[in-house]
Symmetry: C2
Subunit: 201 residues, 2 copies
């Protein structure tokens, strides 16, 4: 199948850019994610689903803590793409210079973001290369535009817009990272583990 | 939690309107769905995830056949919202007046739509009220605008735009249907079955 034939549909199936955070036993981390979708039609019981690649530290923290927070970036938070997306939490403490508090799930909620949802995992699905976590939204708020002079809210940050504003060397670095992630996914996405999430060790 | 505080984020986490189809043992069906998301970063192995409420006939057909097709509606296919979304396939043969062929998964692929992806289920997650199906895309194409005089492609149909064009009585009917679905979901979304998808009967 020629991917370019389905690409126009796929572009509509990703979410705005978010810093997905989690914490476990004193380790806090954040990564960039766009595989986020709504999973409930009941306003009194909101749910979301996020897909996180297995080799990421954030994946392990969510898997162990059953908690995560989705912090949608504001259009003026381009700097967080490299701070959270281009380094590994195994090498550095990514949140050391970013103000946050802990939400009810125990996950870091950024003080500055377009909007956040703090969530508790209720079930999870193995996709071989990734885990899809289904989570109850415990707490959330849309803060709107951040920065010193907020005007008309520009909405959350989308990758297509970020891409136009980031310096070329950063785009190169991002593409190299994605290429590595694709390699990992291509090798592992057929190795699906059907063990129930509740019986994980 | 006040849902209105997270509603601006949630509006970005739904997909364009699609007719999700499936077939099993001579029964063919279609329903409207917007809980569709991308699930692969590998162009050579595209995947999607869809969430389908358990009480829908399409759910049973997907569950039994392991196949489904996502047919994104074009902006001139408002009529399919009521044809597929406001009646049950248990009462009528919804596809009797709609031209289709069978895709490689055995699911009906609409001859007229903005774009389609025919998929085979590789894993599934129980959400209590719904099942989230993870599927490999076997075949797909973006056809663009349908109709007799296609001009500049208007993209797929979004609910926010459909809502402005549908007659008020149809919107009322739709809202009544959603109210019933919400009731079902609210009652069942905590009853999550952790049995692996592979051991389903």
């Amino acid at each position: 199948m020629d991917y370019s034939r389905i690409a126009p549909m796929m572009t509509h199936l990703w979410a705005p850019m978010a810093a997905v955070t989690s914490a476990w036993q004193g380790k806090y981390n954040a990564q960039i994610a766009v595989a986020i979708s709504a999973a409930s039609i009941v306003p009194g019981k909101p749910r979301v689903a996020i897909k996180i690649q297995k080799r990421n530290l954030t994946h392990d923290l969510i898997y162990k803590s059953d908690g995560f927070a989705i912090n949608f970036l504001s259009t003026d938070q381009l700097d967080l793409i490299s701070a959270f997306g281009l380094v590994s939490g195994r090498d550095t403490e990514k949140l050391s210079h970013v103000p946050y508090r802990l939400g009810p799930s125990g996950s870091p909620v950024l003080k500055s973001c377009w909007g956040y949802m703090d969530c508790r995992v209720v079930n999870a699905l193995d996709g071989g290369d990734l885990t899809c976590f289904l989570g109850d939204v415990l707490e959330g708020d849309t803060l709107g535009e951040t920065g010193d002079q907020p005007g008309h809210d520009k909405g959350p940050l989308w990758w297509r817009d970020a891409q136009r504003q980031l310096p070329p060397e950063l785009i190169d670095e991002w593409n190299q990272k994605i290429a590595q992630e694709r390699e990992f996914s291509a090798e592992s996405m057929d190795n699906i583990d059907f063990t129930p999430w509740t019986s994980r060790s």
